[in-house]
C-alpha cells in the first residue's frame, strides 16, 4: 500500500544516508518514518512546486536529529532532487545533521536543540488565527524533549489561546539520549499531563497506518483546543537488530549491517 511503500523508502534512504555519512540518530529516523509517510502522502496540504505557498500547512520537526527521515520524504515527494540525499552530513553547505531550512525547500524551521519547535509552532498558529488563514501547524516532538521546560511553556500557552490549528505529535519511542525515558526522567502519565495542560489528546500506535491516518484526519480533536497525538513507537523500527536499542541512537550501520537492514526492508540488491 501507498503508506508502506513510502515509509519503506524513507527508511532505506535514512539507512543509506546514515551509513554513507557515518552519522548518528538512525534509530530516531526509523521511529518516525510511518508518521511522516502518512503526513506527506495524504494529510499535509503542501505543494513541492510551491514550497512557500502561503496557505500551506506548516510542519516543524522539533526533534531535529531525526532529519534523515524528513529529508528523505521531502526528496521522495519532489521538494528537491533525490541526489541531494547523498550530501547528508558531507563537507559543504549541504543537508546538515540536524534539520536546516537554509537552501532546503520544504523545511520550514531549523532545529537541533530540543524544545524549540513547539514555541515556534505556537507563533505560526497564532499568526494563522489572527490572519484567518486556513493552514494548520504540525510539530513533531521527541519524548526526550518533553524534558525541556520550554516545551511545557508552549504546552501551557497553546490551550490558553485556543490554538486548535496546532497539532503536537510526540514520537514516544521510550528511549532518549542516554537511557530509557523511564530510567532518565519518567514522563508518565504522559497523556494525562498533556490533558491537564488543556490539550485534546489521542494515543495511537505510531506504526499502525490506519491509526495514524484516523487520528490525523479527525483534527482538531476538539474545537478550541490544540491537539496532541501521542504516538507509541519503537526506536529503530523496521530493522530487527536496531529495534529498541539505545546504541543505534549513536551508531552508524557498516556495509554489512546496511545490507542486512535493506534486505529486511525488501531491498535485496
Amino acid at each position: 500500500m501507498k503508506y508502506y511503500d513510502l515509509a519503506t523508502k524513507i527508511r532505506a534512504h535514512a539507512l543509506r544516508m546514515t551509513h554513507k555519512a557515518n552519522a548518528s540518530h538512525i534509530g530516531t529516523s526509523l521511529s518516525i518514518a510511518d508518521i511522516l509517510a502518512v503526513l506527506y502522502e495524504s494529510i499535509l496540504h503542501v505543494d513541492p512546486k510551491r514550497p512557500t505557498w502561503p496557505d500551506r500547512d506548516r510542519f516543524i520537526l522539533s526533534k531535529g536529529h531525526g532529519c534523515a527521515a524528513l529529508y528523505a520524504v521531502l526528496a521522495e515527494q519532489g521538494f528537491f532532487p533525490k541526489e541531494w540525499l547523498d550530501t547528508y552530513c558531507q563537507d559543504g553547505p549541504h543537508l546538515a545533521g540536524h534539520i536546516t531550512h537554509h537552501g532546503v525547500p520544504g523545511v520550514e524551521v531549523s532545529t537541533g536543540s530540543l524544545g524549540h519547535g513547539l514555541p515556534i509552532g505556537c507563533g505560526m498558529a497564532l499568526a494563522g488565527k489572527h490572519d484567518n488563514q486556513p493552514h494548520r501547524v504540525f510539530v513533531l516532538l521527541s519524548d526526550g524533549e518533553c524534558d525541556e521546560g520550554s516545551t511545557w511553556e508552549a504546552a501551557l500557552f497553546a490551550p490558553h489561546h485556543q490554538l486548535d490549528n496546532l497539532i503536537a505529535i510526540i514520537d514516544y519511542n521510550k528511549i532518549q539520549s542516554f537511557g530509557t525515558v523511564k530510567e532518565v526522567l519518567d514522563l508518565e502519565p504522559l497523556a494525562g499531563k498533556w490533558r491537564a495542560f488543556g490539550w485534546a489528546v489521542q494515543e495511537i500506535d505510531g506504526h499502525d497506518f490506519r491509526q495514524i491516518e484516523n487520528a490525523l484526519t479527525s483534527l482538531p480533536f476538539k474545537k478550541g483546543q490544540p491537539s496532541c497525538i501521542i504516538a507509541h513507537t519503537i526506536k529503530g523500527k523496521g530493522v530487527s537488530f536496531m529495534e529498541n536499542q539505545l546504541a543505534w541512537h549513536y551508531k552508524s550501520p557498516n556495509a554489512e549491517q546496511l545490507k542486512q537492514a535493506l534486505a529486511e526492508l525488501g531491498f535485496d540488491k
Partner: protein, 310 residues
C-alpha cells in the same frame, strides 16, 4: 525611555499592521496603551521568555514585525539560545527590547543588573545591537528598527532619563551621532551614560580640554569610520559604557583601533569591571562605584592628558 518607546511603537503600529508586541508578564503602567489599542496584536505570554522568543519567531516567519519586551536580562540571557537558533539563524524580524540596561534596576540587585547583554548580543550573527543615548534617540531607534530588516536588540534605560538632544538628530543605524565637536579627545559612549559624558565634556571645556562626544547608539554594525576619524583627528579616545569592560563598546572600538596596525592614539576603556557588583543602590550611585560619574569621566580624561605631557 520606556514611555517614549511605547508611544512611538503605538504610533508606528497605527500605520503598520505587521507590528506585534509580546511581553513576559512585565510592563505594568507602560504597555497598557498598546494593549488597549491593539488587543489582537498584544500578548502577555506569561513568565516564559523562551516561549516568548519562540512565538515571536513563529509570528515573524509568518510576516509580522514582533517586539519582545521585558526587563534587565530576562528577554536576552534567559532565552539566549532561542535568540541564537530561532531569531537569528532564521534572520527574522524580531526586535528584542530590554528595559533597564546597565544599573537602571540597581537596587534590585545582581540579577537585575544588565551588564553583559551588549557583549552577548553583539556576538550573534545577524543581530543588530542598539543602545539609545536619551529618549530622543530611543524614539528614533524604535522607528528605525521597524524598517531595518532582521533581528535587532534595543537596550533601553528605564524612566525619566534626561534629554540630551535639544533638536532631533540625524539618526541612522550604524552611524554615530556627533553630540559635541572637539579636537583634543574623543569620548565615545553608548546608551544612557551619554548624559554624564556630555556633562563631563562641558566641564572639561571650561578647563581647556575640547572633547568630541560620539553617541555610538549602534554597537553593531559599528561606525568604524567615526572611530577612525577620531583616531586621526584627536589625541585620545575614551569609551564610556554602563556595561562590562569585556565585549561591549570598549572592545568593539579596541578591535577597530588594533587593526589599524600602528598606535595612532591613546585609548582607554571605561566600564564595569569583570566582576559581579556586590553593591546595590541607585543607578547614579552604582555608576559612581565604577567611575562612570561625571567626575569619574573628567578624572580619566585629565589623567590621559597629563600622561601625554610627561
Amino acid at each position: 525611555m520606556r514611555t517614549t518607546f511605547i508611544h512611538t511603537l503605538i504610533e508606528c503600529a497605527r500605520a503598520d499592521g505587521r507590528i506585534w508586541l509580546l511581553v513576559g508578564d512585565l510592563g505594568y503602567s507602560v504597555v497598557e496603551p498598546f494593549r488597549q489599542e491593539f488587543p489582537g496584536r498584544f500578548i502577555n505570554v506569561g513568565v516564559a521568555e523562551q516561549n516568548m522568543t519562540g512565538i515571536a519567531t513563529g509570528l515573524a516567519i509568518s510576516g509580522k514585525v514582533v517586539f519582545t519586551y521585558s526587563i534587565a536580562n530576562f528577554p536576552t540571557l534567559r532565552c539566549l539560545e532561542q535568540i541564537r537558533n530561532d531569531v537569528c539563524y532564521h534572520n527574522t524580524n524580531v526586535k528584542i527590547v530590554a528595559v533597564g540596561g546597565g544599573f537602571a534596576y540597581g537596587a534590585h540587585g545582581m540579577t537585575h543588573h544588565a551588564t553583559e547583554d551588549l557583549a552577548i548580543m553583539r556576538a550573534l550573527p545577524n543581530m543588530t545591537v542598539i543602545a539609545p543615548g536619551d529618549p530622543v534617540e530611543a524614539a528614533l531607534a524604535t522607528r528605525a528598527i521597524i524598517e531595518w530588516p532582521g533581528p535587532c536588540y534595543l537596550r533601553l534605560g528605564k524612566a525619566q532619563e534626561p534629554v540630551v538632544h535639544k533638536t532631533s538628530p540625524n539618526f541612522q543605524i550604524g552611524k554615530a551621532i556627533v553630540v559635541r565637536k572637539g579636537g583634543d579627545v574623543t569620548l565615545i559612549t553608548t546608551g544612557g551614560i551619554l548624559f554624564n559624558t556630555v556633562q563631563a565634556a562641558e566641564q572639561l571645556a571650561r578647563q581647556g580640554i575640547q572633547a568630541r562626544v560620539l553617541s555610538m547608539h549602534t554597537l553593531k554594525p559599528l561606525d568604524t569610520e567615526a572611530v577612525l576619524a577620531a583616531a586621526r583627528q584627536t589625541k585620545a579616545i575614551v569609551t564610556v559604557e554602563e556595561h562590562s569592560i569585556i565585549g561591549g563598546l570598549g572592545s568593539a572600538v579596541a578591535e577597530v583601533l588594533a587593526e589599524l596596525g600602528s598606535s595612532h592614539t591613546t585609548f582607554r576603556r571605561m566600564g564595569i569591571k569583570n566582576e559581579f557588583c556586590r553593591q546595590i543602590g541607585s543607578q547614579e550611585y552604582l555608576r559612581g562605584v565604577y567611575g562612570l560619574s561625571v567626575e569619574g569621566i573628567i578624572e580619566v580624561v585629565r589623567s590621559l592628558r597629563e600622561a601625554a605631557y610627561k
